[in-house]
Symmetry: C2
Subunit: 417 residues, 2 copies
């Protein structure tokens, strides 16, 4: 497979897509939704091949579930496409505009990046989601999915590419990389003149691979080692609800909490209640010595937390617990072990909330709310391609705006310097 040729075709298509009207792009999204539903049978058949191969290979139940498509899930993908069609088009927005002293008119206008490569792992729906968000923002997309979902991804890409062409836009705007060779991926990551941006969707390993090998700019949506800090001035009822919600409502996602920090002044009251509640919900706890002292005999059987626990994103019903002496100690712990994703404080004290919000280095800081809220749709930003934990370009939900760049357009009347 000639990856340079493929990326070149995407680059050429990106020029057409950048100038496409919102109406045409939305029409393509609706055609894509219809194509998925029309070709349901084929899609489920190809997916069944992947699932069978995955079972033979001994993939875990959780991974098989990620891979699996059924009618409901395919309808869900189609609905997501129709949803993206309803969102406002960020391309062409005048972000800022002014006139200089000499009378030059300056406009800073939102424009597509050009070609966005999305590198992803198990879930086949990413094929459709990523293509939809890129198309909506006028970007051509190069899709490189995981090997386990190969047949599913290929048929999905084929279906949506056909739909794009039916809507009168270039089919080359969606490129599906059919090979899994690592060398081809590395080559792709070096095409700085053809690829404008790479977005990895996957675990820390994938991110590390891209940071190491990519010469193309990367926005990474990385892991979340998130914390809930219960301050001495916390409303303990809120603290209990928030801690339990942040841990158990959906433990496998990046904005779930992994460590609970409790101010020593309220540890005596709060810890027995929260430990009971979490234990009742089958959360395995790793506590520090101070917490053990506060909890007493009844919970003497809980394991002691180690450095490793504080540094782990469990993504499961496990949680580390630590007693701290001050809001500053909580901040220090978070800035040391956190991954800059979502961090919460529970407090009624204005100065503590301010100090925490200012000093915690993360994409999203919560005051009296669960870390679980970090999400493009919840924020009202519409569909997202992930949560950025980096500081360049976009931090937090990567929604439509974040898939665009800007350009200055400056108009004069023969102005010279």
């Amino acid at each position: 497979m000639d990856i340079t040729k493929l990326a070149g075709a995407a680059k050429r298509a990106s020029g057409v897509l950048a100038g496409a009207s919102s109406t045409k792009k939305n029409q393509a999204l609706l055609e894509m939704a219809e194509a998925l539903e029309r070709r349901m049978g084929e899609i489920l058949q190809e997916n069944a091949e992947d699932v069978a191969a995955g079972r033979r290979k001994g993939l875990s139940g959780a991974l098989i579930d990620r891979l699996l498509l059924d009618e409901e899930r395919v309808h869900g993908m189609a609905e997501a496409l129709r949803q993206v069609a309803t969102l406002p088009d960020p391309v062409g927005e005048i972000v800022e505009g002014w006139r200089t002293a000499e009378g030059l008119e300056i406009r800073k206008v939102r424009v597509p990046f050009g070609v966005v490569a999305v590198i992803y792992e198990a879930r086949p729906n990413v094929t459709v989601d990523a293509a939809a968000l890129c198309l909506k923002t006028g970007n051509a997309v190069v899709l490189r999915g995981g090997g386990d979902a190969y047949h599913s991804n290929r048929i999905l890409a084929e279906a949506i590419t056909g739909a794009v062409m039916e809507a009168g836009l270039p089919g080359d705007a969606i490129q599906f990389v059919t090979t899994r060779e690592r060398e081809v991926l590395v080559d792709l990551l070096r095409l700085t003149h053809l690829i404008d941006l790479v977005i990895p969707r996957g675990g820390e390993q994938l991110k590390e691979f891209l940071v190491e090998h990519s010469r193309v700019p990367v926005i990474y949506a990385a892991g979340g080692n998130c914390h809930v800090y219960v301050d001495r001035a916390a409303d303990l009822r809120q603290a209990l609800d928030i801690t339990v919600n942040a841990k158990v409502q959906r433990p496998g996602v990046c904005n779930a909490a992994e460590t609970l920090l409790v101010h020593e002044a309220v540890a005596g009251h709060f810890l027995p209640a929260v430990v009971k509640e979490l234990s009742d919900r089958k959360v395995t706890l790793y506590i520090d010595q101070k917490a053990r002292d506060h909890l007493g005999e009844q919970w003497a059987g809980l394991a002691l937390a180690t450095e490793r626990h504080y540094a782990t994103e469990f993504l499961a019903l496990e949680m580390a617990v630590k007693v701290v002496g001050s809001v500053d100690e909580a901040i220090e712990h978070i800035n040391q072990y956190g991954t800059g994703h979502s961090e919460a404080i529970v407090t009624q004290d204005l100065e503590s909330s301010r100090r925490f919000s200012d000093a915690v280095d993360a994409a999203a800081v919560y005051v009296n709310a669960s870390t679980r809220f970090t999400d493009g749709a919840v924020y009202g930003l519409g569909a997202e391609i992930g949560i950025s934990t980096q500081k360049l370009h976009a931090r937090g939900p990567l929604a439509l705006k974040e898939l665009t760049s800007t350009k200055y357009i400056v108009t004069g009347r023969g102005h010279i310097r």
Copy 2:
């Protein structure tokens, strides 16, 4: 030299700096200005050593001039510092803010990056400029300057670091890398947990080195192969002024024009006039066969342009000339050879200007104005650290805002999902 220790000290200082008030930061900037003027003698003495060494080494006159400091230039640096102190502080700006349906209050707030490394070449004033812009934006800075300016850079860094401490801010916020070993630079570029951003200030070679070796996100301020396109509907008086200005007003800078594209419908009238004017101003021209046909006998001695000329950023009194058949041919040429910096069209035709503005892939597009306007101060953005030709995070002038990231601060009343 322990680069990890140095970066670690910068990281710790960045925490203090992020919380520093605008008043205190501005005070530090004013102290820095005073320190430069107070230590004028030492600075000129150290600079004289660099200049002497440069002469022994056989540096060109242009490079010696870049290196050279005199009283006027040091006063100029001090004035630039006082100017930065007057600019608004971007840190703390609420970029956006809204309330969700569930009553969560979301604010997107401008925050410093943390630690910014600036890698630069000849001019010693970058030591002061980069430190000032980083300090103003609450970032600690790691300065790694060119070897030829070593003594100048070291004394300047020492003077401004002392001033920062006098203002009650941590001296560790300005770190000067004293070694020139390439391995140390490569190590620095891998400290992803300590360095948040790297900005190269130098030529394409330095940029390529960083793209290859940096694991830390890079914003590069790269070269400009800029064009002026004279449309068939151009006001030819404006076209002449703009072409001459874009080429000769300051040929050594990145927003100077390197190639002139002329629509064939006006080539017969325009080319003789512009070629005469440019030749009178000592510009060496490389023209294509069509231009030669239009120009006739009198200019038969001009060299023919090759691919290499179209691809070159001359940064000198040289210019390539090409006749094109349409605005689309001009756009295609620019998107093939341009570096995405500044591109101008001269036209009175609305559709041509719109087509050009939309389709040219560059940081700044000019309609009836010279490419020379791309500059933070000219745009009214204040001091800049360079012009970004990349699409991620910042495109065009890198002023104060572009040296910041954002953070979401979300406030609830015990909100859970």
